[in-house]
Symmetry: C2
Subunit: 143 residues, 2 copies
DNA sequence: TTCTTGACTTGGACAGAGTCCATCGTAGGA
DNA sequence: TCCTACGATGGACTCTGTCCAAGTCAAGAA
């Protein structure tokens, strides 16, 4: 049914109806949902699921490395179930749509030692911004 | 006194005591303050300044391109007055310290057309993450 | 199958960040 | 100096996320 559910069970997770439903919501839909959206969709499958449980479950999935937390705009965090393949994000400044992208090059290598200030740098998140096709055509028409 | 104040006046800004104080706080200290920190520092110079005014003023400075909004962690946004020189950010995962950095390479060029999904891509924000020297030594000692 | 137990869930209170709005104050032009 | 539209105020409100005490239940043991 769900790869994610199987992997979580493999990690020693106690499998409850709530966790299964959250995993299904994330796994079935490769978009980037907010916690509230996950809660809304999970509620359709299991009406009595609580918000706290959704937050807890998402947090645990993030700790286990099965889900990535994406904070592109300072509003609600979004949850990206595509954690197993390294990727970056492309965000539409108009409507907020997010796409996973795979740039060439190695951003970590592009940071000279002189620019590291003694930090142990382990990660580089890139957020590309622009307008998606429909927002771009809308903007052209409006301007 | 303050370059930023002069530039804002040049943009047709009506100059009030509140705006001057916010500009001074940002201009005087090249760190990355949250709106609340800006409010706290501005209050020392002008005790009756309100939170709403600080938010409004910061928002306007961002629209004018004089200040950059940085959302590195999904918590409070930070405001970076160093908007005139393009740069990226290096964030300590331990204490949250932010440094401006200048990587080589062009991240925009690293995104193949096939990976753009028809977007008009205009910008690439890179957030490098790692541990600053003091957090790294603390972690080594603790582990 | 039943029991046991500790991990999980619930829901409501709470906190932090940010926005909104009606009202009041004032910068700057006439 | 006077006017007036732009800006400031502060309190209520929303949104996102966390915490906690009490109740529930998955899964291993007998």
């Amino acid at each position: 049914m769900s790869d994610l559910v199987e992997r979580l069970r493999g990690q020693g997770w106690r499998m409850t109806a709530q966790r299964r439903v959250v995993a299904q919501v994330l796994d079935g839909d490769h978009t980037h949902l907010t916690a509230d959206e996950v809660h809304a969709r999970a509620s359709r499958l299991l009406p009595e699921i609580s918000r706290a449980t959704v937050y807890n479950t998402l947090g645990e999935m993030v700790s286990l490395g099965e889900v990535i937390e994406v904070a592109t705009d300072g509003r609600a965090k979004r949850y990206d179930p595509n954690a197993r393949r390294p990727h970056q994000h492309l965000v539409c400044s108009g409507c907020g749509t997010i796409r996973d992208v795979h740039p060439t090059g190695s951003p970590l290598g592009d940071l000279p030692v002189a620019e590291r200030f003694g930090f142990t740098v382990t990660e580089a998140d890139i957020t590309y911004r622009g307008l998606c096709p429909s927002c771009a055509s809308g903007a052209a028409g409006a301007a």
